[in-house]
């Protein structure tokens, strides 16, 4: 039994409905035969059972999955790459093997460099010392900046003295030193130590107190030295050629004068090139270490430490998010541009549907 409007209709017209059902028209035998003939004489293939793809469910699932993936990717990318993996205080020392260093190190250009830094951690937390080892086969400009915290201002002076002794013991020398004692003690030491001893120096400097931060820069010098050597060889060849020409007895006075002048140009050039190469080689043999000893905590560290370069996974994620963002942007743009037209098409379709239904109804009304 139905309830609501239908129930009322049913109660109201109960007798009428019964009459209508009782007097239901039946098809004539001729029509039955006609329809049976239609149904049997012609081959009636089975309805094709189309495999319906649950596209609505799939679309919903896909959208949710894509959104979830996007959120996760954004969360991963937005995490600070330098501190996201583990707490700063619990960070372990990372020692890059030689092969890894070579991967990042420039092959020939002197303009390229590799920088490695550990950020200053939160106050009172230490950074474990780890130094990129210099490559023995190539000349490199190796620079390290260390910031070491000592407990009391009175310890700054003794630590500075120990750092100087360490430098000298490793065969290096002090480039500059500054020491100030007040409420907070600070000391800055710039030293040069042989490249093959720099790892040892960094390790020993970091043991003077608590290592707060360290930054290492390596710049390849070998390419520049090679170019200088090539130029020097060319100059030497030219000078030898000019000297051989001057030894020729049949040389005219005019030619002799010209060759002499040429030799006068070439020799200073050679001397300059040799000096430059010697300086570059010296730079490559001695590393530069800047050591700051302080009683201040890491938050007060004056030197800004650049973030660590992102890993390959993070770069891939960043690229994917960037591409995804562009695609979404273009899709949004397309939707915004196309939406008025889509709305018009939809409206026209709805209007046509409404008009057709009204037309059908009107037709049925007129057909009476």
């Amino acid at each position: 039994m139905t309830s609501g409007p239908e129930g009322k209709v049913e109660e109201r017209f109960d007798e009428l409905l019964a009459q209508l059902r009782a007097g239901r028209p039946a098809p004539s035998p001729a029509l039955r035969e006609r329809v049976a003939a239609i149904a049997t004489t012609e081959s009636s293939p089975e309805p094709v059972r189309r495999r319906t793809f649950p596209w609505r469910r799939t679309l919903a699932l896909g959208t949710v999955s894509a959104l979830a993936a996007g959120v996760v990717a954004l969360a991963v990318v937005s995490v600070d790459p330098g501190s996201g993996e583990q707490p700063a205080g619990e960070r372990e020392a990372i020692t890059l093997p030689e092969a890894n260093l070579d991967r990042f190190a420039p092959r020939s250009s002197g303009q390229e460099s590799v920088t490695r830094a550990q950020k200053a951690p939160s106050a009172g937390r230490a950074v474990a010392p780890s130094a990129l080892p210099p490559t023995q086969k190539r000349l490199q400009d190796y620079r390290a900046d260390l910031r070491v915290q000592v407990r009391r201002p009175g310890q700054v002076a003794s630590a500075t003295s120990r750092a100087m002794r360490i430098t000298r013991s490793l065969g290096g020398y002090i480039v500059s030193a500054s020491y100030a004692r007040g409420k907070q003690g600070d000391s800055t030491l710039v030293v040069r130590v042989p490249v093959d001893k720099v790892q040892d120096a960094i390790l020993r400097f970091s043991q003077l107190g608590t290592l707060l931060s360290q930054r290492i820069e390596i710049q390849d010098l070998q390419g520049g030295v090679n170019r200088q050597s090539d130029r020097i060889a060319a100059l030497r060849t030219s000078i030898a050629s000019v000297e051989a020409g001057l030894r020729d007895p049949e040389l005219t006075a005019e030619e002799r004068t010209r060759l002499t002048a040429r030799l006068g140009d070439l020799r200073p050039q050679l001397a300059t090139r040799l000096g430059a190469r010697a300086a570059t080689v010296r730079r490559g043999r001695l590393s530069r270490v800047s050591l700051t000893l302080t009683t201040r905590e890491a938050a007060a560290a004056p030197a800004p430490v650049p973030p660590a370069p992102p890993g390959q996974f993070e770069e891939t994620l960043r690229d994917a998010v960037s591409v995804l963002g562009k695609v979404v942007g273009w899709l949004l743009y397309a939707v915004i541009v196309a939406s008025p037209f889509l709305a018009l098409v939809l409206g026209a379709a709805l209007l046509e549907r409404w008009r057709r239904r009204r037309g059908d109804l009107a037709l049925l009304e007129r057909a009476s």
């Binding site: 139905t2 009459q19 059902r21 009782a22 028209p25 049976a36 049997t40 037709l363």
Partner: protein, 176 residues
């Protein structure tokens, strides 16, 4: 009597012959009510089944029952017929001079009283259509609404109004 849907042998895999045999009476009754002409209804019933046969491959029992699908086709066939008739009448200029049909037996069923039969004939095809679908074929409101392209509420309202008009016609005829 109830307006709740009648149980049918729907869905599942069925041949066209079986579907035609099972639903011939329904389709025929629907077309009789829709056209108000038994001869025409028989012709349209045959035409509807011919069309249904040609479209049988596209029938999907998951979307609608065979009976609903056949009624939809019958409706399309009937509307096409009405349109062509309207064009023909307009073209021939006999629209106003339409002669009343004289039929010796009741149009809408053997068991109906003459008053009810006449009252049904006086209703519009749209009114008769809703009565046929909801009362004779006992389709539920949502199915009929989908078939006619209207809402379920509109379907119920239309049925109520059609039955009101039918009742008024009957009482008017009795008084006359």
């Amino acid at each position: 009597m109830s307006l709740s849907p009648r149980p049918t042998l729907e869905t599942g895999t069925t041949s066209f012959a079986a579907a035609a045999e099972a639903h011939l009476e329904d389709v025929h009754a629907y077309l009789v009510y829709l056209t108000g002409d038994r001869c025409l209804a028989e012709d349209l019933t045959a035409a509807a089944f011919e069309k249904a046969l040609s479209l049988w491959r596209r029938f999907d029992p998951r979307r609608a029952s065979a009976r609903t699908w056949l009624c939809q086709i019958a409706r399309t066939v009937a509307l096409d017929h009405f349109r062509s008739e309207e064009r023909r009448r307009r073209r021939e200029g006999v629209y106003a001079a339409r002669e009343p049909r004289e039929e010796p037996e009741p149009t809408f069923g053997q068991g109906l009283s003459p008053a009810l039969d006449e009252a049904l004939g006086a209703l519009s095809p749209a009114d008769r259509e809703i009565i046929a679908l909801r009362v004779l074929l006992e389709l539920d409101a949502s199915t009929v609404a989908r078939l006619l392209g209207i809402s379920s509420t509109a379907c119920t309202t239309r049925l109520s109004r059609a039955l009101h008009r039918l009742e008024e016609r009957i009482s008017h005829d009795v008084r006359a």
